[in-house]
């Protein structure tokens, strides 16, 4: 398993299988956070490019593939937000924007639309301390289990539960969170 994971950075076929397994989940993950189809498309590429850079960090003992990938996606997203200007790292990418045809646009807009509740909830969570918010995001919005979310963030399960509990309590009565189950533990 460990070897197979490292292979996705060097073996185009192994990578393709990995990509096809997860590209939809990552597109939705990004659509929940970014309301622009072009930016979502660019970020999908950036996330999977980051996968090539960090394939060696995957440890099967510490959570599922998707948990690890969400961790990579989170890091990519915050790096993108910090980045003052966008450099183009991939060959064949024109002017930093890849062309989207009408089908792409329709699909991405539909996805962004479908995630509007999630985006509103994420906005409502903006005031939380970073660590607490990250846990709540991954568990309540992205539907990871507590241990997967802990793996994605690289923290211990005990700490993860404490953060989640705090975050849930803080946002219990916020209307934007009503669509998401805040009570109970998974």
């Amino acid at each position: 398993m460990r070897r197979r994971q490292a292979d996705i950075a060097t073996d185009p076929d192994a990578f393709e299988a990995f990509y096809r397994r997860h590209v939809d989940a990552i597109t939705s993950f990004l659509a929940r956070r970014v309301p622009d189809p072009h930016t979502v498309a660019d970020l999908v590429a950036e996330v999977f490019l980051a996968v090539l850079d960090s394939a060696h960090t995957y440890r099967p003992g510490r959570g599922s593939e998707i948990a690890w990938l969400y961790g990579v996606a989170r890091n990519t997203l915050s790096a993108e937000r910090r980045r003052a200007f966008k450099e183009t790292r991939l060959a064949g990418k024109v002017g930093g924007r890849r062309p989207l045809d009408s089908d792409d646009l329709a699909e991405l807009e539909a996805r962004i639309d479908a995630e509007s509740l999630a985006r509103r909830a994420l906005k409502a969570m903006a005031g939380l301390p970073d660590g607490d918010r990250a846990m709540l995001e991954l568990v309540v919005i992205d539907q990871l289990t507590v241990s997967e979310a802990a793996a994605a963030l690289g923290i211990r399960q005990g700490a993860a539960r404490a953060r989640l509990h705090r975050a849930r309590r803080t946002l219990r009565d916020v209307p934007e969170m009503a669509a998401f189950v805040l009570g109970g533990t998974r």
């Binding site: 950075a9 060097t10 073996d11 185009p12 076929d13 192994a14 990578f15 393709e16 990509y19 096809r20 590209v23 597109t27 498309a41 999908v44 590429a45 999977f48 490019l49 090539l52 991939l90 060959a91 064949g92 990418k93 890849r98 989207l100 045809d101 089908d103 792409d104 991405l108």
Partner: protein
């Protein structure tokens, strides 16, 4: 085109480009010398095989055209190399042997490769030399196991069911080589065996590190630093 397919294409190209760059960084060059010694593919190398402790002992990569690249960085763990190749559908028998020795060439039924007369082998006529070169390149062994750029390229299309890719590697203890002191730093020989493969029976090979005459085969001596 669907943007997901587009992104996938870009990333596949990126992987290939990175693999290329890595290959270039390692900068190891193989050359064919003494290639006519009966076995299909024998190569000696005049560049260091060991590049540092951080490099993995070897790497097995599947290429998009169905071939497999085997890059040996360090002579250890042949069983794992065999297992990895098996995972990719290739039955292999890998031996690492000490300098000055080799496996006896009686390991099983194999294609002896094209044969040439002594006159042909010593001929200076470019047409004859080209004919010999082509005949070797087109032999079943050479098609299945190609050496070059510091690695072995295995083409499963040319390995039939019941055939084993037999590979023998030798590494010189002294990894210095230069114009004043040319020597073979390592040697590879590979061929296909049909049916059962006998274990490597070590025999002496005092001439194993003899390199071709630099005047006759300048291609065997890559410039320093390459």
């Amino acid at each position: 085109m669907n943007f997901k397919e587009h992104v996938l294409m870009e990333l596949r190209a990126e992987i290939v480009a990175r693999n290329e760059a890595r290959r270039r960084r390692v900068r190891r060059r193989l050359f064919t010398g003494a290639a006519l010694a009966g076995l299909a593919a024998v190569a000696a190398v005049a560049a260091p095989l060991l590049t540092g402790s951080e490099t993995p002992a070897y790497a097995v990569t599947k290429n998009t055209d169905g071939t497999i690249t085997l890059k040996i960085n360090e002579l250890r763990d042949p069983a794992q190399v065999e297992q990895d190749l098996k995972d990719l559908g290739v039955t292999a028998d890998v031996s690492y042997v000490k300098p000055g020795t080799r496996c006896a060439p009686d390991r099983g039924e194999s294609d002896s490769g094209p044969s040439f007369t002594k006159e042909e082998l010593q001929s200076k006529d470019p047409a004859v030399r080209k004919r010999i070169k082509d005949a070797i390149a087109n032999s079943p062994n050479a098609k299945a196991l190609k050496i070059g750029h510091g690695e072995v390229r295995i083409d499963p299309h040319y390995i039939k069911a019941g055939q084993t890719a037999v590979m023998e590697f030798t590494e010189n203890a002294d990894q210095t080589s230069g114009p004043e002191k040319p020597r073979a730093l390592w040697q590879f020989s590979g061929y296909l065996v049909t049916g059962p493969v006998a274990p490597c029976r070590i025999i002496d090979d005092p001439s194993w590190d003899q390199l071709p005459d630099p005047k006759k085969h300048p291609e065997a001596y890559p410039p320093a630093g390459s």
